[in-house]
Symmetry: C2
Subunit: 331 residues, 2 copies
């Protein structure tokens, strides 16, 4: 299986390291040999070797210029090359436009390549369009990493619970805000908790995307299309972040035996992201720190809840690997 | 897809009802037409119609005698019949001998039939033998319903987390004992909580299998073979039930910010079932009532926890359906 990889930041590198570490296991357990034949970056150039790149060498270089496999060929011409089986997009995408990942997905699927996406933008903007394109060219479009990293929230809904009707998904889909709310329960102010999250690397220098709820909202757009076939826009969602929550709010919830959580939810009627006071018997109420969770409400099984990591290079790297194993199994 | 079903108690009936209710959905979404061609019971006789039974009619009868499809043919001769694709075993099995399910599984797999099991005995006793037989005859052996009913604990470990190395599974795998422990937190004695569980139908008149930990232990035998290839016996496990837990024990745990749970766990080194005091930050500590949960510890993803129903006719019926959908997808 030959891969073209767009993006080589922390996730791309962690994925490359996983492929090195797991090469023997993948061969033995799944008869699967994954080679990265191309890597495309925004600022460090592009590598291409139809035989597969030497990942140990690539990981040891901070810049691709001067490496034997460095190429001037445009990535859009590489992904349609005969030797490429699967195109992986792990570069950051704009959740308003879906770019640059959206064009890469379109090109790859049009060329009949399988596509694995770990970023949110392309799917949040054009899930249905991309799925239709995949069906037309009989290629696979997998996206486990776009929601809760490698914690199999998508596979649980689309494969394990197949046969059930899912009527609602509600979850804690953003680790940064959950970490901040958990810290505020110890008496911290929002500002102090945010600063701590930034120091630990959970929150970005500009935390807006997380704390105003937009990251979770983009995931709701993906889930609404994946579960209900509903292609919504960010402006269709009712989105409120956590910036207005005070220590007094947190204390009042605690006194009532409840906890504030930034709950992202979606049904066939639409979606929302907002802070909600949950009773402690709700499994989501007990998810602390940067951990994520999702509860699917179903006709036959009642509520089914999955709890796990929602971010992290290694965890997102595993999402990519799990989608590739899935493609390999589908044959 | 033509099925031979062994057992027609609450689970068998719920499964038949699900097939009636979901017939159109299964056809439309999965291009899957499931017909039950044979039903075998211990006391009400056997039905067989190579074209498929009329399930509405069957569900309306309390006894099969006199029905047009009633047969004197032995079930072991029916399951090897050309028309049968999959043999489903949902009858109670002895967790010491694995019978009567074990012989049915052996016969079906030897004849190259796919097998779906919801009962625990056959797998607890002979998982590895049955898997090997399935490999020899290139048939599928699926068993989602044997652990946590239709909550996809098996599929999560074997498919969704494929590529990760699972180093431990620990869970609340028995709803009856979890219900009793949850009630005892309100101040009830063990005896009163057990009686309430019996009145609600959670506990059987003879509760030994649940309260002494044997039901959870049988599930650990299945998990130890499924996850680690380790065919253990009940006598290999360290098993302690909940009968010795007093209201004072419960109160002491609560005072320390902990909760007693009957924790079933297994690693490549062996397994145990015993009451353990868990800190409230452990996702298992917050699973109340008859709900079940399992945490897989993995190399790439850390802990991944699944929470859902662990019993119930409908929920176990869904386990059977989900295994059939899986077989259909594998083609």
């Amino acid at each position: 299986m030959k891969i073209a990889l767009n993006g080589f930041g922390t996730v791309g590198k962690a994925f490359a390291q996983i492929l090195i570490d797991k090469a023997q296991t993948l061969q033995k357990e799944f008869d699967l040999d994954i080679q990265i034949a191309a890597i495309n970056t925004r600022t460090r150039g592009t590598l291409f070797n139809p035989e597969g790149l030497d990942l140990s060498k690539v990981l040891a270089q901070s810049n691709f210029t001067g490496m034997a496999d460095a190429t001037q060929t445009a990535f859009k011409d590489i992904i349609t090359h005969d030797v490429i089986d699967v195109v992986l997009d792990v570069a950051p995408t704009d959740i308003q436009t879906g770019q640059p990942g959206l064009d890469i997905c379109r090109q790859a699927l049009s060329a009949g390549k399988d596509v694995v996406v770990a970023s949110k933008g392309a799917l949040a903007v054009a899930f249905n369009e991309l799925q239709e394109k995949a069906q037309q060219t009989r290629s696979h479009l997998l996206y486990e990493g776009s929601v809760m990293a490698g914690t199999p929230a998508i596979r649980l809904a689309k494969q394990d619970l197949a046969g059930c009707t899912i009527t609602e998904a509600r979850g804690i889909l953003n680790g940064t805000t959950n970490y901040i709310l958990t810290q505020m329960e110890t008496g911290m102010t929002y500002a102090d908790a945010l600063q701590q999250a930034q120091e630990l690397g959970y929150a970005e220098p500009d935390p807006t995307g997380d704390v105003e709820g937009w990251d979770a909202a983009a995931k709701i757009l993906i889930l609404s299309a994946a579960l209900f076939g509903l292609q919504l826009k960010l402006s269709d969602l009712d989105v409120t972040g956590i910036t207005q929550i005070t220590p007094e709010d947190i204390a009042a919830a605690q006194a009532a035996g409840e906890r504030y959580k930034l709950v992202a939810s979606v049904t066939a009627q639409g979606g929302s992201v907002k802070p909600i006071r949950l009773p402690l018997i709700d499994p989501l109420a007990n998810v602390g720190g940067a951990t994520n969770a999702i509860t699917y409400r179903t006709d036959l099984m009642g509520d089914v809840t999955l709890i796990g990591a929602g971010a992290g290079p290694r965890q997102t790297g595993f999402a990519l690997l799990s989608d590739l194993i899935d493609i390999h199994r589908r044959g």
